[in-house]
């Protein structure tokens, strides 16, 4: 009957102390690995702990010490979960931080600054130690209190707005310049540009690079051939279709973003239109229209970003650092078509499989 007296109460430190016949403080010492406890005592305490199945109450500990219990958890905030452009980056980051004993949580903010702030709050509340942000929010100052509270943040792809922070970026201007230059070298003269948020830093820099490359060939950007504020695959397809049917169509398009480029290729495959993606395209070489792209290897980006954050976590001081990676062009076909050569319609090509 004695076993029934204390019904299913979670054992406390005092229970352990009683069983081990020591004081609470001694149990606490063992729990925290403080030195100054006899080996025999430690063993007795350990035994009592396992015997009772004791687990320390984190809330009580936290109340006393004032320190939040932190998990070896980092988080990656992305705008969308299904952007293949970022899938490789996320996987790379997860692998890199995992190798150092951390786990990575991935979560979408849907481009909403408010939601982003809420997420950061609940992640910190949940014990996360650091956060990677892929965010085009107009103001990141909401982070400051959390940073003061010990959170580590690293911005990826887009720099922090209204504040200074570590960031790992891709040279978007150079990417767009390389893409445009490549098309120019393949005899294109009417090259269109399709971009995402015009007010965002990245799109702006892409436009600069695009214009610089044109200027270097003595050309000016035709406003008809520049289109921004396209964010979803449907929009990219529509834009591509419009250009295809335009009275004076472009012969090639530079598209900001792998996902949009793939969407555009849906319309463009077989049309003879050149296409270069600014960003990562998974399995780009397997496409019917194998996409030429300008991007940084996701593993490299991931490695650098993980490095920056983990070093901060390990106490590295110093001013915010800004790492800018230079993208590379991978020619796969869609950027190497000559202008003016008509192709069979997509339907004709599909028929190849039908017979």
């Amino acid at each position: 009957m004695t076993s029934m007296t204390s019904r299913a109460r979670r054992p406390t430190l005092w229970d352990v102390a009683r069983v081990a016949r020591v004081s609470a403080k001694t149990v606490s010492r063992v729990l925290n690995g403080e030195r100054g406890v006899a080996a025999a005592t430690t063993a007795r305490v350990r035994a009592a702990i396992t015997q009772l199945g004791f687990e320390r109450n984190e809330a009580a500990r936290q109340l006393r010490t004032g320190s939040r219990p932190r998990a070896r958890t980092l988080c990656l905030l992305v705008p969308e979960l299904d952007d293949p452009d970022r899938a490789g980056l996320a996987a790379g980051l997860a692998g890199a931080v995992y190798a150092r004993g951390y786990s990575l949580l991935l979560t979408p903010a849907y481009g909403s600054a408010e939601r982003e702030a809420e997420l950061v709050h609940s992640l910190v509340e949940g014990g996360a130690m650091g956060v990677f942000l892929i965010s085009e929010a107009a103001d990141h100052r909401y982070l400051i209190p959390y940073l003061r509270g010990g959170l580590t943040a690293v911005f990826l792809l887009h720099p922090a707005a209204q504040m200074n922070a570590d960031c790992v970026l891709v040279d978007e201007q150079e990417a767009a310049r390389l893409a445009t230059q490549h098309l120019l070298r393949h005899w294109h003269r009417r090259i269109a540009f399709l971009g995402q948020r015009p007010e965002a830093d990245g799109t702006g820099r892409q436009l600069e690079g695009y214009q610089r490359a044109l200027a270097a060939s003595g050309l000016a950007a035709d406003p008809e051939l520049v289109r921004t504020a396209v964010h979803d695959p449907a929009g990219a397809q529509a834009a591509a279709r419009e250009w295809l049917a335009a009275p004076s169509p472009p012969t090639a398009i530079v598209v900001g973003g792998g996902r949009l480029a793939v969407a555009a290729s849906r319309v463009l495959a077989g049309s003879g239109m050149g296409l270069v993606a600014l960003g990562e395209v998974p399995d780009a070489d397997l496409l019917r229209m194998p996409l030429t792209s300008v991007s940084c290897s996701p593993p490299e980006l991931a490695t650098r970003a993980a490095e920056v954050l983990l070093q901060r976590l390990e106490g590295r001081a110093g001013p915010p650092q800004k790492v800018v990676l230079t993208p590379q062009l991978d020619a796969r076909g869609s950027g190497e078509v000559r202008p003016g050569v008509t192709r069979p319609a997509p339907e004709a090509r599909r028929a190849w499989f039908r017979r």
Copy 2:
């Protein structure tokens, strides 16, 4: 000087009480929205709270109430982050739970049961209310204490092992049967099967479906044409290459998993070999070898899964439910080639873009 006396201490509930000239309990009442506080008092307390910038100490609250502070957070555990097969599912789930005011955290367990258990632990510790698991672990009983502690779990794609729990599955046997039958109808007689973990429930059922379809046509599975325990793209490519060079090669292959199917297609494109994927292949129609696949629409899976979990969260009682979705075949080309027709080599087709 008086402002310097209490240096930067975080204000407590008592500070608020003093400023509002009420007792601590009254502040507590306001904080918890308990009724029985005069409107004027509530206002004074509110004012004091904002004036002092007071934030309740969650640890203390938790210590007293015994209840863990829970965030409106759910989590999806996946084996790998870069599996396109699951990208659509993850995005769908995130959207579905977001619509109900929850956020979704995504994290990879790398197929390790131990890591999976650790992740669940730290997620619960971090206040997560529910978890979706895509897991082939051999034993999920580690979850039981957490479930007792109020965690809600729903298994996706693979059922819970050694225990009963809500799950949302795809009828893998039917998927493989459909795929094989489809190839049989296209005159294939030597059909190979490439599967993942042989000990896993899903692979086993796929094999059954494959064999059933063959048997229905009076054929038996040739052991040479059945290969399992292939988990990565490299392995899938190797297997495809071997079959291509076999003395008596298959004319078509059924591949378990979208990612492996894409990898196999890298070798098979242009070879004339038939290919049907069991699982989701993003942008399958845009591939040089447009993959015929048998799968459930990720949005549907996501919707059903979210529904099951959210209903539990809202208090739905009853025994574990098992939802099994019937997959559908999408013919895109790779499954509709006739056996024995030789194709141009991949190189020849690529040259189309080069000129």
